[in-house]
Amino acid sequence: MPKHQRLLRRLSDAGIAPRYLLRIDAELQDHYADLEREAFVTEKTAAEAAAEARLRLGDDEEIAAEFLAHPELKLWIYRWPITRFGLGLLVGVLIALLAPLQLIVAKRATIARFGLAACVSVVLLVVTLLGMQRIVDLDRRVTGARSFAIERHESTDLAPVRPEKESVKNKLPSFAQRRSDSPAPIGLDGTTAAISLETFVRTTFDVRELGIGELNGDYLPIVKVAAIYPALALAQGLEGYVVVQFTVARSGAVKDVVVVESTDSLFERAAVEAAYKYKYRPRVIRGQSVEVPGVRNRISFDIAV
């Protein structure tokens, strides 16, 4: 049964009143179940029934568009955004005018003290908020620089820059040593045709222990699956590399993999298939994960002698 988290988030961001959000997911799920049951009655398979139910119900975009076409479903503060500013201004004016006016009329020192305390509180609040914003900005600059230092062999530049091979042995020697215990793939003639240590280590590189901040952080590889050495290339003793470019999705999965450069087309398919299996920790900006297009990786195919 489909969940409508994306729809609910979209409607919530647009200011649709919460009482409708609470109902819509339940009603859509019930409706979907009824459509599936109707499809089953006509002896469709489970997959066909689910597909038909989804088609008839409509996708989240269509439903969201229909919601947004009805402004009466929004909270009043979203229907008339000027009221947010107006309300704040009205409260500010009341405090600014009434407090001294009261003092003048009633000559009460307590009113003056209240007004002064309120002004001091507002000033302190503004200073604190500005300070916090500055801290967040500083943190973003620091974590961004750190992420770049760790993942230097990846580039999001769209210019055709040849990425350099980076040896990771010196960075995490104990990690590389642990991973080298895994068996290497066997070639057609029975010899061990290992992918170079560099690629092998890189394909199982785990950076979760490095502790990058959660609120903002750059994308980082979590798992990189080793590419399978093409049998035909192995039989011919061919070595080479492929540079692939892809997008790191918001979920951390890889999509839209394309080959940018390769020494031989024999390696391309294996490189693309391996790249699709990579898993990343996605880039996070202000607590929201974002897509990162144009990420490049060089996958080497070397036969160890």
Binding site: R23, I24, H31, D34, R56, L57, E62, I63, E66, H70
Partner: protein
């Protein structure tokens, strides 16, 4: 079946929904099915978009809702209020006026 949600049909779903709910209260899936059957499949809706229309009519006071448990399943049933009946009457009169005018225009010869 005719085109789904053709552009000149805005306002028609509200008229249909009020007309059907004035006869008996229904929940969303039932209502969409009733629209298809009563119009002879002439009007089709992407079924999920009926809910925003229902919520909007409820917000305007034309409909009321009630949660009823049937066969162990909770359903939200929609029914027409007094204000909704007045709205239905006004929409029906408007529709009849428009269709009458169009029919007259189509009957006139030589004016393509």
């Amino acid at each position: 079946m005719a085109q789904t949600n053709p552009p000149f049909m805005s306002g028609v779903p509200e008229l249909l929904i009020l007309r059907l709910l004035a006869r008996e209260r229904m929940y969303g899936y039932e209502l969409v099915k009733a629209i298809r059957v009563s119009t002879g499949e002439a009007i089709g809706l992407r079924e999920g978009v009926v809910y925003p229309a229902l919520y909007a009519m409820e917000a305007r006071g034309s409909l009321r809702t009630r949660r009823i448990t049937v066969n162990g399943r909770d359903r939200v049933y929609y029914s027409v209020t007094a204000k909704g009946r007045r709205r239905l009457k006004s929409l029906t009169e408007e529709w009849q006026r428009v269709t009458s005018g169009i029919s007259t225009a189509l009957e006139e010869p030589g004016r393509a």
